[in-house]
């Protein structure tokens, strides 16, 4: 054998030198690295942006609909389907092979479930329908062919094919609807095809033979398991394994419990020739029952689409081509439970939810880095049930409008609502004025590069005819503040701040500086923002004299070290006058920490116009619970009128000092970021509030009565002209 080993070494060494890296390799690496870096930046600031609302901007009906010079009417609003029952948790695998339980409401990892780094790239993961966030049970297969099965207090490596297969491995997996069995497809011992093997899931393995056993006929090795419906608990129970062929056809394989083990009795006829199926999933009325709704990821002529079918025959399709972009359909995967589906391409993952009747919301991008994910079931016995056929009309949900359900926090969307004042919004590349003449794009960032608007603040005293806005933009990790002047309906200035007024100037915040803000002083004579980097947290204040800087050393440009006391970076949200006299102001900030309340930083304006910050900032606790405050707004008054909180169930707008004081309005889940970063924008407008998400691009005008009206187009941030 030593001779053989020597021959192998010599051969491998010789063959290795047959190849030389091409010069294009580094370019390709650089391109892929740049893409990952871009995703990171985007996922911080803009992830989850839904781009499709731009078309609404073009709706001409807005012209002439306003009822007064300072009141505009929102054009026909984009209906946001009230979310049905969508799981709050997913099991996600990142590129490093770490399997985690992720809370979709916050995007945060609840806990790590397993380290599957040794498994290679994940091919499939499925969560047991009986799993809960507290007790997660799932199975996954990967390119290594290994099967990872995790149950209560167990993590085991199984392999359905190692001893029987010489040329292949398990590559698809499914768990029975009652959570009792896990099945994989793997090559047969004779390598003449593949077959289904199964074994009990860990929570049902006590007293059972935990080994794998083949149960099915020899099949084409390209067949993949995608779902398993029906019961497997009792002798004679029949259930159905669903498989997708390499040609995109859906097959059913009926298995019957015989001597305690599900055994194949027939391989069903081909179905679903209407679509070329890439992947499929089934949701359940309750664990152990047949699927009542199914999802197909189909390769349609116009690109990938998601197909939803209810038990009563209703069908709705969603075109995913624009969302997914240029992808290899072979990389696409699907997982779905109840009214939510996850779709991914191996690098990115989207949540596509509907209202329970097939009216889909825009896909929401989850954080970059998840290469595979599966939803937890929320229709456990005793849990909410959505796919109740008795509630589902037979008509086509795609054709029938969804009636708003006042009980749902995501609805209703009131059409014809009016804005009490003109506003400015930013989307990824556009800064838009929503005035009496309807939406007008004021400024656009160049398409080249990765430039994005992050925020925009209107200078106090501006009007729609003489408007000054400062916008924060980013491109490839660099940050700019830009002056936007809009006078008489024309853009007169759209320029980055010059030195020394640019973010990061002076280097006080250290390397890797990123700014938060800006905010205007109440009189509009100065602008402030926070800078965070490797150095101390810094507050920058720049005087304004028809532009950044005054030329007066007292007011031109100042930096103050912020005492954040170990807190996560503060986000300045407004700068208001306080009752302590004309020089007394207060800069308010929020922090994405776990503390209730917001932060107040007294800022004193000296006689020469210079600002003084004495460092006596303090935290203000509203005392109405422990929810995280991510926004405060007061419409120019010193008293906080609105609080924006993140609760377990999603964002909540609290009337802190208005006529409905204490009322809590649950806001649409479209504002909920899927990437774990919970920064939202809140501004007071009239007697209501503007709320926007830089993560999902959803913006709402919420009236004093608590009605949420979706603003047209993408809205990452909004501010009021007053």
């Amino acid at each position: 054998m030593e001779r053989m080993e020597q021959l192998i070494r010599e051969s491998l060494e010789a063959r290795a030198h047959d190849v030389e890296p091409t010069p294009a390799l580094w370019l390709e690496v650089d391109r892929r690295v740049a893409r990952r870096r871009r995703f990171q930046v985007v996922s911080w600031s803009l992830a989850g942006v839904t781009a499709v609302l731009a078309a609404v901007l073009a709706v001409p009906a807005i012209v002439g609909l306003f009822t007064g010079p300072d009141t505009i009417e929102i054009p026909p609003l984009d209906r946001t389907p009230a979310a049905g029952v969508v799981s709050t948790h997913v099991v996600a695998i990142d590129a490093e092979g770490t399997v985690s339980l992720v809370d979709l409401r916050t995007g945060e990892t609840v806990r790590e479930l397993a380290d599957a780094a040794g498994l290679g790239a994940p091919l499939d993961v499925v969560v047991s329908p009986t799993a809960t966030a507290e007790v997660v049970e799932f199975a996954a297969v990967s390119t290594s062919g290994e099967v990872l099965i995790v149950g209560p207090e167990s993590e085991e490596w199984g392999n359905a094919g190692e001893d029987r297969a010489q040329d292949g491995f398990a590559w698809s997996v499914s768990v029975s609807a009652d959570g009792r069995w896990v099945a994989t497809t793997s090559p047969t011992a004779e390598s003449d095809g593949s077959t289904v093997s199964l074994r009990p899931m860990p929570s049902h393995a006590i007293g059972a033979d935990p080994g794998w056993r083949e149960v099915g006929p020899v099949m084409d090795p390209a067949h993949r398991l995608v779902a398993w419906t029906g019961a497997t608990a009792d002798e004679g129970d029949r259930s159905t394994l669903w498989l997708v062929t390499g040609d995109g056809l859906l097959l059913s394989q009926v298995v019957e419990v015989t001597d305690g083990v599900p055994t194949s009795v027939e391989l069903g006829a081909r179905e679903e020739e209407r679509w070329r199926v890439l992947d499929a999933a089934t949701s359940f009325v309750q664990a152990g029952a047949d699927g009542e709704a199914s999802y197909l990821l189909a390769d349609a002529a116009a690109g990938p689409e998601l197909v939803w079918r209810s038990a009563t025959g209703s069908v709705a399709t969603v075109d995913l081509a624009r969302t997914l972009g240029d992808v290899d359909v072979a990389d696409l995967w699907l997982d779905a439970k109840q009214d939510g589906a996850l779709v991914g391409d191996g690098e990115r993952t989207w949540l596509v939810a509907h209202d329970g009747r097939g009216a889909f919301a825009e896909p929401i991008a989850l954080a970059d880095g998840f290469v595979r994910a599966a939803m937890l079931d929320v229709a456990r016995p005793g849990g909410p049930v959505t796919d109740d056929p008795t509630e589902d009309p037979a008509d086509d949900p795609a054709a029938a409008p969804v009636e708003p359900d006042p009980a749902q926090p995501d609805g209703p969307v009131v059409e014809g609502a009016t804005l009490p004042a003109p506003i400015v919004t930013v989307s990824a590349r556009q800064l838009t004025l929503h005035g009496p003449d309807g939406p007008q794009v004021i400024a656009e960032l160049a398409v080249e590069g990765e430039s994005r608007f992050i925020s925009a603040r209107v200078r106090p005293g501006s009007t729609i005819d003489d408007l000054t806005v400062v916008a924060l933009t980013t491109a490839e990790g660099m940050w700019d503040l830009r002056t936007v002047r809009w006078v008489g309906g024309e853009l007169t200035v759209f320029e980055p701040f010059p030195e020394p007024h640019i973010p990061g100037w002076g280097g006080a915040a250290g390397e890797g500086m990123s700014p938060q803000g800006p905010v205007w002083s109440p009189d509009g004579d100065r602008l402030a923002w926070f800078e965070f980097g490797t150095g101390p947290a810094t507050m920058r204040v720049v005087g304004w004299d028809d532009g950044p800087g005054t030329g007066d050393p007292a007011t031109d440009n100042a930096s103050f070290e912020l005492d954040t006391r170990g807190q996560v970076p503060l986000i300045p949200v407004e700068w208001v006058a306080t009752p302590g006299g004309p020089s007394a102001t207060e800069l308010r900030a929020v922090a994405l920490d776990s503390n209730e309340g917001w932060y107040a930083l007294p800022v004193d304006v000296q006689g020469d116009g210079a600002v003084a910050v004495d460092g006596s900032g303090f935290r203000v606790e509203p005392g109405d619970g422990t929810d995280l405050v991510v926004g405060v707004a007061d419409a120019g008054r010193s008293e906080v009128r609105w609080l924006l909180q993140l609760t377990f169930g999603g964002p909540v707008l609290v009337d802190a000092a208005g006529p409905q004081q204490g009322r809590r309005t649950e806001l649409p889940t479209a504002l909920m970021p899927g990437d774990g970063l919970t920064q939202l924008s809140l501004r007071a407008i009239g007697d209501g509030a503007l709320v926007a998400s830089p993560h999902t691009g959803a913006g709402y005008y919420v009236t004093s009565e608590g009605e949420a009206n979706r603003l047209p187009g993408e809205v990452f941030d909004a501010d009021v002209i007053r």
Partner: protein, 184 residues
């Protein structure tokens, strides 16, 4: 949020040093990928993806041994390619009735090296174990770590691989492989 942003911004300034990492390791990575996939074009694709994944951890400072981490990433990426090729081969079989529909092995390299031909005919798992053991000179423990399996599995895969190669080479009649034998 600040921490994330810091990492991102740092990432925007470190391309030069990552280029140094690339220069130090890319050639060996491409060769390993080629031995695992038999396809020089796929090898570059595998290595590009592996470097991109290494980068994510490297820029966070999580990678102490880039070479080892890269080796693992290459093995995993090669796995992915091999699986897809398996499916392509299966589809080609359905189309053409045999496996001539897809020919992914580099012909020029295969035709003059019977040992290499035999290596390529090994099942994927055996082949990976053999390449990592005899080309990368990894221990069984290191090989097991990369393949994500037990040391026992590595031993059995290598053992089966060697036995299978002896059969293949004996059948071809071109190479004497026992210790007592001569050479080619």
């Amino acid at each position: 949020m600040g921490v994330d942003v810091l990492a991102m911004v740092r990432a925007g300034t470190d391309s030069d040093s990552f280029a140094a990492v690339f220069n130090a390791h890319h050639r060996q990575a491409v060769r390993l990928a080629y031995l695992l996939t038999s396809d020089p074009h796929q090898a570059e694709d595998v290595v590009a993806e592996a470097f991109a994944k290494v980068y994510v951890r490297w820029q966070r400072g999580d990678v102490r041994d880039v070479g080892a981490y890269l080796r693992r990433a290459v093995a995993n990426e090669a796995n992915s390619k091999l699986r897809r090729r398996y499916l392509e081969r299966a589809q080609a079989q359905r189309r053409a009735g045999d496996d001539r529909g897809v020919r992914t092995v580099d012909d020029s390299a295969a035709d003059h090296d019977q040992v290499w031909q035999a290596i390529q005919r090994l099942p994927d798992r055996q082949r990976k174990a053999v390449v990592l053991r005899y080309y990368e000179d990894l221990s069984e423990v290191e090989t097991a770590e990369i393949l994500g399996c037990s040391v026992g599995t590595v031993k059995s895969q290598v053992s089966r691989g060697l036995a299978r190669m002896q059969e293949l080479l004996a059948a071809s009649g071109g190479v004497a492989t026992s210790s007592e034998g001569g050479g080619y």
